[in-house]
Amino acid sequence: MDIVPEITRRSITRLINDGKRSDGRAFDERRDIFIEPNVIEKAEGSARVKLGDTQVIVGVKPTIGEPFCDTPNLGVLMTNCELLPMAAPGFEPGPPSPESIELARVVDRGIRESELVDLEKLCIEEGKKVWMLFIDLHVIDYDGNLFDASNLAVMAALMNTKLPVAEYVDDEVVLSENETMDLPVRDKLALSTFVKIGNGLVLDPSLEEEEILDARITIGVTDEGNHICSMQKGGEAPLTRDEILDAVHMAFTTKDDLLSYLD
């Protein structure tokens, strides 16, 4: 990514060591959140999310396919992510970068491991036909913390996704023309990313903070389940056991506030 002047690094770090952030936020305070659901009429589910100035659009498109052999009665979710060249000066067109793959897979693991979509209800005919959902993540403005912004946008898009009612008749799937069903979303996931800078662990890093991070940790916690369901460390510095446990604890305490934006 971009090279940050050493002086910026020092001043941000000094502030954090003094218990302050350069934009005045508390360590466990997120930036402003704005969620616009149903932004794409041609998508069965969609949302645009602004987290500070980071912007992500998510569209959900269903298709009908065959289930995997080992899960004949479950629908399928596929998460794909595009770090668009418009989102940052360093994002190049071309095959997905490791960063983009990591983002897609962390978001995907959150949805999958939390079991928040009831995949059994996406089965049309066991062993024959199931709904397959493409969840496409379009990052249009990168101003820090793509993980949390993307997860919020995916949550919002899944919650407004509607599928046509499908029936399996004479070896073929017949779709209802006017009846739809809501996507069976039975839980919500709060994804919280912290970065370690100096001696501090701060929630929802801004771009400035991400550019100088020592280590990063992302924690997924379910709303109903109240469980940890995913976690991902990043960055070239280590974290201590206690820093990790602190981050986990903050992920639980800040969860309700975050998820209130989805109501």
């Binding site: 959900v60 060249p85 379009h138 249009i140 403005d141």
Partner: protein, 232 residues
């Protein structure tokens, strides 16, 4: 001949554009950006540059160059589109660069590149013209020196009538489509394609109607830029 034209399927007159909304400066990171809605189209355009590029073979010693990437989001169309460039988007990227280039004054930026992204968030007919229109606003927003703000619009033939700004439905069921882009000050044409079935006379009529459409949209581009400057 165009006096007794019938209203179209969506109730528009033959020379009536779909509702348009243009906003400049919608992204933080990009040097310039614009958002455009026309009919059901939702389009974002961004500009980075003039800047260095590691793709040296694209650069020129005596002038800056423009590179355009037209891309459709997977969720922008009824059947999900596979991510990444296909043949259609490669062609549109190429002709969009040709369409925007004549207005740019890049001579003072040798060995540099201006990167334009046109992102089709939702598509409903006429995305290439709308994309060029949005990109021109983003170029202005980025402060790229320009002698004019390029603007695009299509005309075509539907039910044997020449009409402006075809909707997706008209494009699919119509008999011809003529997308163009112009530099409105001189009226010179920087993009021109045609497909379908037109007599020489019909083509001339379509060309003139598209030029008129461009001029109307041009005003909205300027308004959007004015709103952007006044908000700063």
């Amino acid at each position: 001949m165009s006096n007794d034209k019938e209203l179209r399927a969506d109730g528009r007159a033959y020379d009536e554009l779909r509702p348009i909304k243009i906003e400049a400066g919608v992204l933080k990171r990009a040097d310039g950006s614009a958002y455009l809605e026309v009919g059901g189209n939702k389009i974002l355009a961004s500009v980075y540059g003039p800047r260095e590029s590691y793709i040296r073979r694209l650069l020129k010693p005596n002038t800056g160059v423009i590179r355009v990437r037209y891309n459709m989001a997977p969720f922008s169309v009824d059947d999900r589109k596979r991510p990444g460039p296909d043949r259609r988007s490669t062609e549109i990227s190429k002709i969009a660069a040709d369409a925007l280039r004549p207005a740019l004054m890049l001579e003072s930026f040798p060995r540099s590149m201006v990167d334009v992204s046109i992102e089709i968030i939702e598509a409903e007919g006429g995305t290439r013209c709308a994309g060029i229109t949005a990109a021109a606003v983003a170029l202005a927003d980025a402060g790229i020196p320009m002698k004019d703000i390029v603007v695009g619009c299509a005309a075509g033939k539907v039910n044997d009538q020449i009409v402006v700004d075809l909707s997706e439905k008209e494009d699919k069921e119509g008999q011809a489509d003529v997308p163009i882009a112009i530099m409105p000050r001189t009226g010179e044409i920087t993009l021109l394609q045609a497909d379908g079935n037109l007599t020489e006379e019909e083509f001339e009529e379509a060309l003139d109607l598209a030029i008129e459409g461009c001029k109307k949209i041009s005003e909205l581009q300027h308004e959007a830029l004015k709103a952007r400057y006044s908000s700063e």
